[in-house]
């Protein structure tokens, strides 16, 4: 028999205790147990990137990760990135329409910039190919990313 288990998750700098089934994905636990609804359920199949979160400094699609795999790691969701430069750049560049894909893009770009402060166009393209925008805001998203990259390389 599989019991529900209580596990601690370190989310956006806070330790939160959750009671979950080991079969629960991180996406479900964030949304349903912690009411962190920024990570979006899109394809639920690892294809669209709408559910992306940062776990232990690496970006993952939370629909293809069990919550139990994230024990002992720091989790950052879009709610943990208030007023980050990339978020502001998205607003300034109108880099969204419906906004459903936006948290996933921002999280992925945040992880990219934490790893490469001055990424090449090829690196940006490779990383961002993991996210799909059904409203096709790609050009504006590119504009937002470049504005942040340029700013950080000027500093």
């Amino acid at each position: 028999m599989t019991e529900k288990i209580a596990i601690p998750l370190n989310v956006n700098g806070e330790i939160r205790e959750v009671v979950i089934r080991p079969a629960d994905t991180l996406l479900d636990v964030l949304r349903n147990e912690l009411s962190l609804t920024g990570a979006k359920p899109g394809c639920l199949n690892g294809d669209c990137g709408a559910c992306s979160v940062i776990v232990g400094g690496t970006v993952y699609k939370s629909c293809i990760m069990l919550a139990v795999e994230a024990i002992d790691s720091k989790i950052t969701t879009i709610e943990g990135l208030k007023n980050s430069p990339i978020q502001e750049a998205f607003i300034k560049h109108f880099a969204f329409q419906c906004g459903y894909c936006t948290p996933g893009f921002i999280i992925n770009i945040q992880a990219l910039l934490e790893k490469h402060s001055n990424p090449t166009y090829e690196t940006i393209k490779e990383w961002l190919s993991s996210n799909i925008c059904r409203c096709t805001s790609y050009e504006e998203i590119e504009g937002a990313v470049f504005s942040v990259v340029e700013k950080s390389s000027d500093e």
Binding site: T2, R21, P22, A23, D24, T25, D28, L44, N45, G46, G49, S52, T58, V59, Y60, K61, C63, I64, M65, L66, V68, E69, N108, E126, W127, S129, S130, N131
Partner: protein, 278 residues
């Protein structure tokens, strides 16, 4: 979300992992070794795969090794594909790995998960087939090492309770000239059509294929045909096609004819590139 319940175990040693598998078996529970878990979760969500427990191998140190020892590259089954690309100890493997899924997914997809998966592409196995690598597996009888050619026949032929620990590749193969091309029908990120990988060993080309038949393979008959230096490229490729070991796939990603058309062009491209090199 998985509709069924699961037990989750994360052993720290190979022995604990195997013991866990057989203890669960005694309780009539079906356990699956879990590395990146991406395929297990996507198939599980669709009820195409069912299990009672997963045994996560990501805390087993041997499964995370990636280094050279005794002139061999040790590549652990639980390494993520992006880690392999970033370290780039094995350029052919990095090239092939970089073409699997997308960057964020590759942070989670592992070497062991890709080569042991159910989805038929399993491209990451191609470099190891080409380099006559050895495979370290563990099971009820302990740890054993065998040639990949003994254990991989379209898929890893593992016994109940066995799992892949490492792939071992002689360092001399790692520096040999290589080419690897993945062709898609649409866009740069669409589903793959075929992947052809090749290395040049002692002036002879070796070839391995994924996406052509329903399993990845290396064929010595095809290699013999493709290495007939006294024949025209056209004849060599045609004779290789005559020796494809199984039915060529004919599916929504591409018809049989289209796959063969792409195969011809890809082989021509690779042979021209590698035969031009000294």
């Amino acid at each position: 979300m998985l509709a069924f319940n699961l037990e989750y175990y994360k052993p720290k040693t190979i022995e604990e992992a195997v013991e866990c598998f057989f203890l669960l078996k005694k309780e009539n529970k079906r356990a699956i070794y879990y590395s990146g878990g991406t395929e297990i979760l996507t198939l599980g969500r669709l009820n195409l795969l069912q299990m009672d427990a997963v045994i996560d191998i990501k805390s087993i140190s041997e499964c995370l090794e990636f280094n050279f020892e005794h002139n061999q590259l040790i590549a652990g089954a639980a390494l993520s594909l992006t880690y392999i690309e970033e370290r780039n100890y094995f350029p052919l493997l990095s090239t092939v790995a970089k073409e699997v899924a997308d960057h964020t997914a590759r942070n989670k997809i592992t070497l062991g998960g890709n080569v042991c998966g159910q989805i038929f592409y399993r491209e990451a196995v191609l470099p190891f087939l080409l380099c006559d690598s050895n495979v370290v597996i563990a099971g009820e009888g302990g740890k054993e090492t065998a040639s990949i050619h003994q254990i991989f026949n379209g898929a890893f032929q593992l016994e109940e309770g066995q799992f892949l620990i490492q792939l071992l590749t002689d360092q001399e193969y790692i520096t040999m000239p290589f080419a690897s091309l993945k062709k898609r029908q649409q866009w740069e990120t669409g589903y793959p059509l075929i992947t052809v990988s090749s290395i040049k060993v002692d002036n002879r080309l070796r070839f391995a294929f994924s996406g052509l038949c329903s399993f990845p393979f290396r064929s010595t008959e095809m290699e013999d045909a493709l290495n007939q230096a006294n024949k025209s490229l056209h004849i060599r490729i045609q004779q290789a096609i005559d020796h494809i070991p199984a039915q060529v796939l004919d599916d929504i990603e591409g018809s049989r004819e289209y796959r063969l058309f792409v195969l011809r062009n890809t082989l021509e491209e690779i042979i021209t590139e590698l035969e031009g090199e000294g």
